[in-house]
């Protein structure tokens, strides 16, 4: 069981396309589009959004997170939530639609709870964390250096696998200094084939996290 996602967009095509994109990285997550008006125009429809929310609520789920595009999509989503039997089961993520949805889907796929999924979506807004000051720096509990061996290097799917897997572990993990739980930051590394990723992990699952990354990276993420 995972958190279910609903995508509210002014455009049917945007909602469908965003769902299609995110579903590639999260095959087990129910992601429902609610785009456009009842009669196929640009706009948002309370009926459509409510239908998607109800479908998401009916399916066994650990909660629902809603991603929206422009302003009135947010208002329609808020209105629809007010009409729900259990409004507390629904969280609205304040995040860019496409990037936020992909991050949310990856987090849901990895088993994050609704708060975690919302947080993953909203984290794509934030700039990469500033380097920690020396006095705050704790030595990592586990480290490793792994070379990227797949042809394409670091791109969306590997980043999703790394961030997704780590989100289920109790560990703070960095790869070449960026947050391993952030798909966006990982992709921004722009690491090509041959790059060595330096992994540092702290927390109860530190060793497990490093093992997980070793397996994933040295196997080329299952890619050629």
């Amino acid at each position: 069981m995972t958190v279910n996602l609903v995508v509210v967009s002014h455009s049917d095509k945007i909602a469908d396309g965003a769902v299609e994109l995110a579903a590639q990285m999260a095959p087990d997550v129910l992601i429902l589009p609610a785009g456009g008006t009842d009669d196929g125009r640009i706009g948002t429809s309370l009926e459509r959004v409510m239908a998607a929310l109800e479908q998401a609520a009916d399916a066994n789920s650990d909660g629902i997170v809603v991603l929206t595009d422009l302003g009135s999509a947010v208002m329609t989503a808020e209105s629809a939530v007010e009409f729900m039997a259990d409004p507390s089961a629904v969280l609205l993520a304040d995040a860019p639609l496409v990037e936020g949805l992909v991050a949310a889907a990856v987090a849901a796929q990895a088993g994050a709870d609704a708060e975690g999924v919302k947080e993953a979506a909203e984290a794509v807004y934030r700039p990469p964390a500033a380097p920690q000051h020396a006095h705050e720096h704790r030595p990592p509990e586990a480290t490793g250096d792994f070379e990227l061996v797949n042809q394409a290097g670091m791109h969306a799917r590997p980043a999703a696998k790394i961030a997704g897997g780590l989100s289920g572990m109790d560990a703070e993990v960095t790869l070449n200094g960026v947050d391993g739980a952030s798909m966006t930051e990982l992709m921004m590394l722009g690491a090509a084939k041959g790059t060595v990723l330096h992994v540092e992990a702290s927390g109860p699952d530190a060793a497990k996290a490093v093992d997980y990354l070793r397996g994933l990276i040295t196997a080329g993420f299952g890619e050629p």
Partner: protein, 208 residues
């Protein structure tokens, strides 16, 4: 004598007529500072309200406003849908099952409608939105309610909303699609404030 379900139904009918009549005007207002769909959206929304009312005539003013709320939220499409939808829904909640609406209840219903718009759209007075029509209307309605005459409340609200709509001309838009235009939004009247004034004028007309 207060207001009843027949007033509410006349209000909605006159609103639908006003949206049809001012459709082009609202589209023209929305063209420079929005996406030029406000007139079309409001016209379609209220026409759908008329269809719903004809299908199953509501028996109380509260039920009529609630039906309007649900219909506008589903049919309007733009931001006006959830905004007016929330406004009518909150007003409907204040009216409840009341069969004879007095001046104080009416003023409270208008206030609840305005509060709903503010809660939904997060706009404040001076942001160049429909709030700039509703807030003066609510204030005027509250002052007029002292005389316990619903007609005075309705007339005061309509007049203040019309003046409020005009007051948006020199404002710099801070909410909605118009806010993307920044300084260029100055000198245009806000279409949502205009449609709000039309709806409040229809409310007054329905009681005449």
């Amino acid at each position: 004598m207060g207001l009843d379900v027949n007033w509410a139904l006349r209000w909605l009918t006159l609103s639908a007529q006003a949206m049809a009549e001012h459709r082009e005007e609202l589209i023209e207002l929305d063209r420079p500072i929005g996406d030029s769909d406000h007139g079309e959206n409001m016209d379609r929304g209220f026409k759908a309200v008329m269809v719903k009312i004809a299908e199953a005539p509501p028996e109380t003013a509260g039920a009529a406003l609630k039906l309007t709320a649900m219909t506008l939220m589903s049919k309007v499409g733009g931001a006006a849908g959830p905004l007016y939808g929330t406004a009518f829904l909150r007003a409907a909640t204040v009216l409840g099952e009341t069969a004879d609406i007095d001046a104080a209840t009416l003023a409270s219903a208008f206030q609840a409608a305005r509060d709903g718009i503010v809660a939904r759209g997060k706009a404040e007075s001076g942001d160049k939105t429909m709030v700039d029509a509703w807030t003066p209307a609510v204030d005027a309605a509250a002052s007029a309610a002292g005389d316990s005459d619903v007609h005075k409340v309705l007339a005061a609200a309509a007049e203040a909303a019309e003046a409020g709509a005009v007051s948006t001309d020199p404002m710099l838009a801070r909410k909605g699609r118009a806010s993307y235009l920044g300084e260029r939004s100055i000198g245009h009247r806000d279409p949502g404030a205009v449609s709000s004034a039309l709806i409040l004028r229809a409310a007054a007309g329905a009681a005449e």
